[in-house]
């Protein structure tokens, strides 16, 4: 079976006035049909740039090298005209902030039908009917009337629903969502997550969730990849990662999640220090300055991402405790 998305040795660099910045390095990922992957990491860990590379949406000064295959077809650095046959059609993306991701001057109808008309050559009326039923499906009441409204007349949650509806309109095989719930308040977050897991079940689309919220991953994903300083430092099935993290960074992330059952007097745990400067990465492990178990070896030798058992990999020199 050809995987939906297959990334090999991806590296994304940005040319900046202060020199080259390597935002994403040495990424290998594979996503099968209907699978769901959570990509976790803090701000600046390269998780968004990784998938912007996949979508061909890098900023002008960005260069991606390596191989990205969609259904076996290499899509990296292809001209926009060719990418446009896949983008929005077979592979779509939901952005972080629904308040700014919709064009304020166009009605929802216009923006939604555009995708169908562009990719499927659907007639205006037919596209509208499909858009209405998709809005209905993502839980927007009175979709047939609201579709003629403008984005500023929608609430944040409704806009994100509309964005998701738009992304699903062409029946994509791969849906990438970049922090789909970060800009929403907590009650709406839960609704959007429920919606996404329901849609995933119904449509069978493979799903990538980019987030820094481990709770989102726990609810939606089968697989998790933890990124730090542009690299994947640990990956595996969601249960294993949560119950038996093997990388000190993953441990730190899990510890810093607020818990309802902890004592009120306990202060929130955090990972000490700052993420490293991507322009001046240490020769060894990028996490060494913040790690509690750091050794001499960590400072000089970069740990490679190694398979450690079924479907699990990590990049750390530390002994695995039995």
């Amino acid at each position: 079976m050809i995987p939906v998305l297959d990334i090999e040795g991806l590296e994304t660099r940005f040319a900046t006035p202060d020199g080259e910045v390597r935002a994403v390095s040495d990424i290998n990922l594979r996503l099968g049909e209907g699978e769901s992957l959570g990509v976790v990491g803090e701000s600046g860990s390269g998780k968004t740039q990784l998938f912007l590379s996949v979508m061909g949406l890098l900023a002008r000064n960005g260069r991606a090298t390596g191989r990205i295959r969609y259904r076996g077809e290499d899509i990296l650095n292809r001209p926009a005209g060719e990418l446009n046959k896949i983008r929005g059609n077979k592979m779509s993306m939901v952005f972080q902030d629904p308040m700014t991701s919709l064009n304020p001057y166009l009605t929802i109808a216009r923006q939604m039908t555009e995708v169908l008309i562009e990719h499927r050559g659907t007639g205006e009326q037919e596209a509208r009917t499909q858009a209405i039923s998709m809005l209905d499906r993502v839980g927007i009441p009175e979709a047939d009337k609201r579709i003629d409204m403008y984005p500023h007349e929608f609430s944040g949650g409704m806009r994100q629903r509309a964005m998701i509806a738009m992304a699903l309109l062409c029946g994509p095989e791969l849906l990438i969502s970049d922090e789909p719930t970060t800009a929403l308040d907590v009650t709406i977050q839960a609704q959007i997550l429920d919606l996404m897991s329901a849609l995933r079940r119904d449509t069978g689309a493979a799903l990538v969730i980019i987030t820094h919220d481990l709770g989102v991953v726990a609810g939606l994903c089968d697989q998790v990849a933890v990124m730090y300083a542009g690299r994947i430092v640990e990956s595996g099935p969601v249960r294993d990662i949560f119950y038996r993290p093997l990388h000190p960074y993953t441990e730190g992330l899990l510890r810093s999640m607020p818990r309802l059952d902890s004592a009120i007097t306990e202060s929130l745990a955090s990972i000490p220090g700052q993420p490293p400067n991507l322009q001046a990465l240490p020769p060894g492990c990028a996490f060494c300055d913040r790690c509690g178990d750091v050794t001499e070896r960590c400072r000089v030798e970069m740990p490679a991402l190694r398979e450690i058992g079924a479907n699990r990999a990590r990049a750390c020199h530390r002994e695995i405790a039995a």
Binding site: I86, R87, E114, K145, M149, M166
Partner: protein, 298 residues
Amino acid sequence: MHLTARQDTLAGIQEIEGRSLWQDARDRLLRNRAAVVSMIVLGIVALLALVAPWISPHPFDEIYWDRIQKPPDFANAHWFGTDGNGRDLFVRTLYGARVSLMVGVLATSVSLVIGVSWGATAGFFGGRVDNFMMRFVDIMYSLPFMFFVILLMVMFGRNIWLIFIALGAVEWLTMARIVRGQTLSVKRREFIEAAHAAGVGNFTVIFRHIVPNVLGPVIVYMTLTIPQVILTESFLSFLGLGVQEPLTSWGVLISEGTRVMETSPWMLAFPGLFLAATLFCFNFIGDGLRDALDPKDR
């Protein structure tokens, strides 16, 4: 009792309807008194220009040999008097309005179409394309305008359409710069990225997603371009490069009026009044539009 109230609110909800940002702007514009009055005055001037032949009994090019350069005279229906050739000034002023308004609107439209496409394309593609396109604009800017117009006149002869083209061909430069600047700021917005992610082609992104977002400043600049174009046309006509007799424009009438303003002030006053009122109106409308389209500034 409660139920009916409930039903009323429900009925209210049933009538949800999209209100675009344009509609909001229109409402704000309609609340601006100066702008509304200006629009009414402009409308009246335009209407008068259209129906001029039916209001006045005199054709615009008929010469009355017995009534040369006469002051306003209601007995013969010369409401604005007659000019140096014995033609009715009222009709001529309104025919002048036709030419002046047409030049203003058409030349501005030409500049709008070229300027918006040029500026949006340059801003959208950026880099080398942008550099090339904007340097071309810079070169055009540095050409002396009068030289350009005189050259056109010499090559193609005096022709009213040539004035539209010449004015439009010059006015689009500033428009292109404005649109390019706006495009640069809009194209990095997330919804443009979302449109790319949805696989929308470049052409569609420019004209469907970017252009509506830069239209606010464009419209304001347009209302300021129209009076500028009318003035330039008046200036060209004043120099004798504009429209040809017996056709006339406000510029021609004013230039004739200034020559005799001591003996026959009405020949300057009426066309001058119309021109000034029109320019005032466009400026007020431009001002009102700027406030209406950008409410954050107040």
